[in-house]
Amino acid sequence: MALSDFLSAVRTLILDAEDGPSEATARRAWIAASFPGLSDAESEDLARVPAERFGVYTETIFAGERSMLNWAYPISMAIIGRLLFERDNSQPIGHHQYDLVRELHGFLPWRSHSIRDLADGFHRFVCEWRTDLLEPWPGLADLMVMEAADVSVFYAEDEPVSALQPESWAALDVESLLMRPVVVPTCVFLARVGFDAIAFRRDWVDNASGPMRWPVESQSFVACGRAPETLLTEWVSLDGPSYEALASLPRGEAMTINDGAAAWLAAQTEDAFADEASAFAAFCEQLATWARAGIIMAPAEA
């Protein structure tokens, strides 16, 4: 028999199988029937391993995946755990999360070494398979997207960009400033969500153990970049026109501040500003915020 059959049998015993009988003869027969590709000697060997020893791996594997999902989705996983605990308080939150991860494995096994793939699979699992978890608050799906984005932006591969220096802009005349080259890094994340996402994340962190309160419905726009100095993720709340402007700009391509300003102005309503000077001042203020959050940067060669 081939090594691959043996490894597959071990995988099944660890991840998918019932414990099976414990009495030696019955266990041998059960192993032989479950894995007909194994030789008698191999069935004997596997049958000698008590089910609880395979269980050590089962526990380690799914607890490990739960830890990774707790890390990738710190708020969403906490919310899901508490939702499940409210339905059945006979088990602790961690136990519910563990069962959910086992269920995820049945729905979509993890097929790479990338935690991002595991996290993406979990999002799909919740949105397609465990939609009951979204019933109390459909915004959970958006929150999961945001949390996944936070990880993606943090780990995104380096791009040929450097920090803008907003504090130096005051010394420039308007034309020189507008002609400065800028770039929106490809890793920047933009989203339109149905709740005040930044306030909700802040409230959750401040009141993690308090009662669960769903945010009120309100459209909000957010951007996430990687702050040039710390290289940590930075979330910025946007108004609608700023979101439209940033979404319309090319990613990873050098342009001028003037290109950004034109997109931003085009997204404004006609009566948004009293005059050109106040519009320009408002744009510069936005631009400085985006620059500090790494949402707009300078091309590396600039």
Binding site: S4, S8, I14, D45, F54, E65, F154, A156, L231
Partner: protein, 281 residues
Amino acid sequence: MRNFDLPALGAGIGLRTEHYDEIRSTRPDVGWFEVIPENFLGRGGYVARALREIAAEFRCVAHGVGLSIGSTDPLDRDHLARLRGLLDAIDSPWYSDHLCFTMVDHVNLNDLIPLPFTEETIRHVAERSRIVQDILERPLLLENVTYYAAPSRSQMGEAEFITRILETGNCGLLLDVTNVCLNAKNQGYDPIEFIDSIPLERVGQMHLAGYEDHAHVKLDTHSRPVSEDTWALYREVLSRVGRTSALVEWDVEVPSLDRLLDEQRAAQRLMDDVCASAGAN
């Protein structure tokens, strides 16, 4: 041959996210850092900058968790190509991973699952080890893993299995001293007899860690200080192999850098003591 002809770096510690900033600001006196490449491959930003800066000042050696050398799934050559780039970037003198499988049927088991001790496994792992070394262009050390479910043992025992893989695949051994202690307890064998049955001249590196003692099984958790029985067996191994590279692993409930360095210093002192009394260099 001694230390698999690799440099003896003394005692080091694993590079963990929690310590990046402190390492860069305090530059601790430590022989070397062990780097898990999967924590850096395809990643930029904060972690990439930290690795660049630390590798510029300290000796770093890569220890992988994703090679899955025993898997019957094809070797991931894209992964190996990226890995090669990272090893070159940090100037890792060797590469180590585990003698186990983590992927099977294209499913990630996310754990180090032991292989059956068979002739077929030896041929399979040896061939893949040669391919990996050709691609990475540096020595490969395979680490003995803990096993709770004893894999197929009808053809040979663990010591013979490891020995024949190392010799057939021309690999070195990353001797996890704690795993020997755990397997000896969980499987019921004599750890000294075990270390005297493996080719110690191929030991290029050692691992030392703490474990958890549960009712029916000892678990390799890397969540505690190095256990007393590990220190005792480490002393025995040192008396046979002399000065080498030893690494303290503490990956769960990671302590402060100072606490971890206490363990590293203990490992270094023991190495110095044993080697001084043996007159070894």
